[in-house]
């Protein structure tokens, strides 16, 4: 499954936070390698270091020690500006709480990364429109977040993540605020992106959600406890809808 150069390669990274006099070891000697197009669920109880790992892999944070190669490039010691550029060009983020700009239309939200990429207004517009159509929100481009359901908001967030044509999408509990049926819809969307070759890193504590990925990494006490591959369950929106309908009927 692994290709010649993995998209993500971390070697012996650790992260130490200093809280007063106490040193907190959030990550201890983690090594991990993600191939292009893989979908990986990172699981583990809170405090296991999965969020820290996600922040580092998402270039929001730097490891205290160890090497991190993203697309073959050493990024662990880059400065804030270089990391910002990397997040803009190579990465897309999806968050549990959607993190859309309030009082801003879906289209403008999706255009945001392109703004920082320095694209012209016309090109931003065209690409944002396409991204929204791709997540099935072509009709709601001018809606504001407060006029949309949670699922729709998360779709906008996914559109925002993929509008820059990233190689990696990092999703932090993307279904945490959604009901099970909508969760399946979002996972179906992710699987579609995965098939299109985008690597997916998903942090979740829900085993149901992890089933839709091709690989599950379980963290514990800052270390990788288990790392196994699995045939992903195909997210079937129709089945999920039927199941929801069945549960809803008396």
């Amino acid at each position: 499954m692994a290709t010649a150069t993995p998209l993500i390669q971390v070697e012996h990274i650790s992260k130490v936070y200093r809280m007063g006099d106490v040193e907190v070891h959030a990550l201890r000697d983690v090594s991990l390698s993600l191939a292009e197009g893989e979908s990986v669920a990172v699981m583990g109880p809170s405090g296991s270091g999965k969020s820290t790992l996600m922040n580092i892999l998402g270039c929001l944070d730097r490891p205290s020690a160890g090497r991190y190669l993203l697309a073959g490039e050493e990024v662990s010691q880059l400065d804030r500006n270089a990391l910002a550029k990397l997040r803009n060009r190579t990465l897309g983020f999806v968050f549990q709480s959607f993190n859309l700009l309030a009082r801003t239309s879906a289209l403008e939200n999706v255009e945001l990364p392109l703004l920082y990429a320095g694209l012209s207004a016309r090109e931003r517009h065209t690409r944002a429109r396409k991204a929204l159509e791709r997540v099935g929100l072509g009709e709601r481009m001018h809606h504001h977040p407060n006029q949309m359901s949670g699922g729709q908001q998360q779709r906008v967030a996914v559109a925002r993540a993929l509008v820059t044509q990233p190689r990696l999408i990092v999703a932090d509990e993307p279904t945490g605020n959604l009901d099970s049926r909508t969760s399946v819809e979002i996972m179906a969307l992710f699987q579609e992106l995965s098939r299109a070759g985008i690597t997916l890193l998903l942090v979740t504590h829900e085993p149901d959600i992890a089933r839709y990925t091709s690989r599950v990494v379980v963290m514990r006490d800052g270390r990788v406890q288990t790392d196994r591959r699995q045939p992903p369950l195909v997210a079937d929106v129709g089945a999920a809808a039927a199941e929801a309908a069945e549960m809803a009927s008396p």
């Binding site: 910002a84 997040r87 968050f95 700009l101 009082r103 920082y116 320095g118």
Partner: protein
């Protein structure tokens, strides 16, 4: 991001919170409009003072004769005639900085028309007088040199005298008035000049040739001038030079030894005018300084709100950073927001200030004087206020850690 995009993002962010943006910028609006209005008022006052002096006549020097001393009581300037008619001729011909010179003889007398009378100042002057004081007639003709030479019994009436004798709408040209029982023909009415800064009514007076005055009002034309000499310098910058020339000339003519006291005195009205201007300038500066302080307070208001805004929008900053905003993009956004607030506040302030200045000017009956440089300075300064007070909040925003910012509730 290019500057235009930064500006668009800032505008959009500000419009998302219209009420707050307006209230934030209100401090700057008030500050700038106060500066504009205060300076306009000051300038108006200055122009008003200048106007008052201009109506007195520009470039004027008044030469007064010396004082009498009898039994230790000194009578003050003009109490003893020391200026001669030849002095007047010499001043007119020999002092290069002097353009006009006229004797000014004055007496109070009753001016009697057919059915009214009015006690007023009767002035004996030469035609130069009206040139010095820049005072035309509103009807009829002015006194000309041949009237002076011939000692013609002609009179120019001030508008107040016309009002008292004939009523305000009447044109008395061609009528006859009697002054000290001597009939004079009214040849013209002087244009209304209004009041002096001290409340003296310029229009309450009549003017006759000085030769006629000497012959009919005050008795024969003697060697000495029983009054003063009014001098018009070639320009207002030349008044000091004219004063010096006249002093030297008269000292020489009066044979005053070096170190001896002048037996005459020269009053320089231009100096008085500039002293008064100085006072108004000080007042203007004071008013503008107070207004500038309010502009500063407005700037602090912007900083305050921008700081609150940074805290409140921490999550937004986190989102922007997550999708690729560099620290300096965030910094630029907040800086441009502050700048936009203060700059537009400045523009609105200018409009409001001009409006207020107009209203105040029309209330006080002052001329409206808008100084474009002050508008430029006020808007520029308000922009500077935006940068200075926006810098700290913008830096604070740019230094946020994206992870903390995203987690911020």
């Amino acid at each position: 991001m290019n500057p235009l995009q930064v500006f668009r993002v800032a505008i959009r962010a500000l419009l998302r919170n219209k009420m707050r943006s307006f209230l934030t910028t209100l401090g700057v609006i008030i500050g700038v409009s106060a500066v504009i209005a205060m300076v306009a008022i000051g300038e108006g006052a200055k122009a008003r003072v200048a106007e008052a002096f201009a109506s007195m006549g520009s470039n004027i020097l008044i030469v007064l004769s010396g004082s009498t001393t009898s039994g230790g009581a000194r009578g003050g300037f003009g109490s003893m005639p020391t200026l001669t008619w030849d002095d007047l001729k010499a001043i007119r011909s020999d002092a290069s900085a002097v353009r006009y010179a006229t004797p000014q003889l004055r007496a109070n007398a009753s001016v009697i028309s057919e059915d009214q009378n009015w006690g007023t100042g009767v002035n004996g002057i030469s035609p130069d007088y009206f040139l010095i004081r820049d005072w035309p007639v509103s009807s009829g003709t002015t006194i000309n040199p041949s009237d002076v030479e011939g000692g013609a019994k002609v009179v120019l009436l001030g508008q107040t005298v016309v009002d008292k004798l004939y009523g305000s709408s009447a044109d008395p040209v061609g009528q006859t008035v009697r002054i000290k029982m001597v009939p004079f023909q009214v040849i013209g009415v002087l244009a209304r000049k209004g009041q002096s800064a001290m409340g003296q009514d310029y229009d309450d007076g009549v003017f006759i040739p000085y030769t006629t005055f000497s012959a009919k009002i005050q008795g024969g034309l003697q060697k000495f001038i029983a009054g003063s000499i009014m001098v018009g310098a070639t320009s207002s910058d030349d008044t000091a030079r004219a004063e010096k020339q006249i002093t030297n000339l008269l000292r020489e003519r009066h044979h005053i030894a070096i170190g001896g006291d002048d037996d005459f005195s020269i009053r320089n009205l231009t100096e008085m005018a500039s002293a008064q201007q100085e006072g108004v300038n000080t007042l203007t500066t004071l008013l503008a300084s107070i207004a500038a302080v309010s502009l500063l307070v407005g700037g602090i208001g912007i900083m305050n709100i921008m700081l609150v805004s940074v805290t409140e929008r921490t999550r937004e900053i986190g989102i922007r950073m997550a999708v690729g905003a560099r620290p300096r993009d965030v910094m630029a956004q907040f800086l441009v927001e502050a700048l936009t607030l203060s700059f537009f506040g400045g523009l609105i302030g200018v409009a409001l200030g001009l409006f207020a200045a107009n209203r105040l000017a029309s209330n006080f009956g002052w001329p409206i004087l808008i100084r474009p440089d002050i508008i430029g300075i006020a808007v520029g300064f308000s922009g500077l206020v935006g940068v200075v007070f926006g810098l700290y909040p913008a830096q604070k925003a740019a230094r946020l850690d994206p992870i903390d910012a995203l987690r911020f509730e």
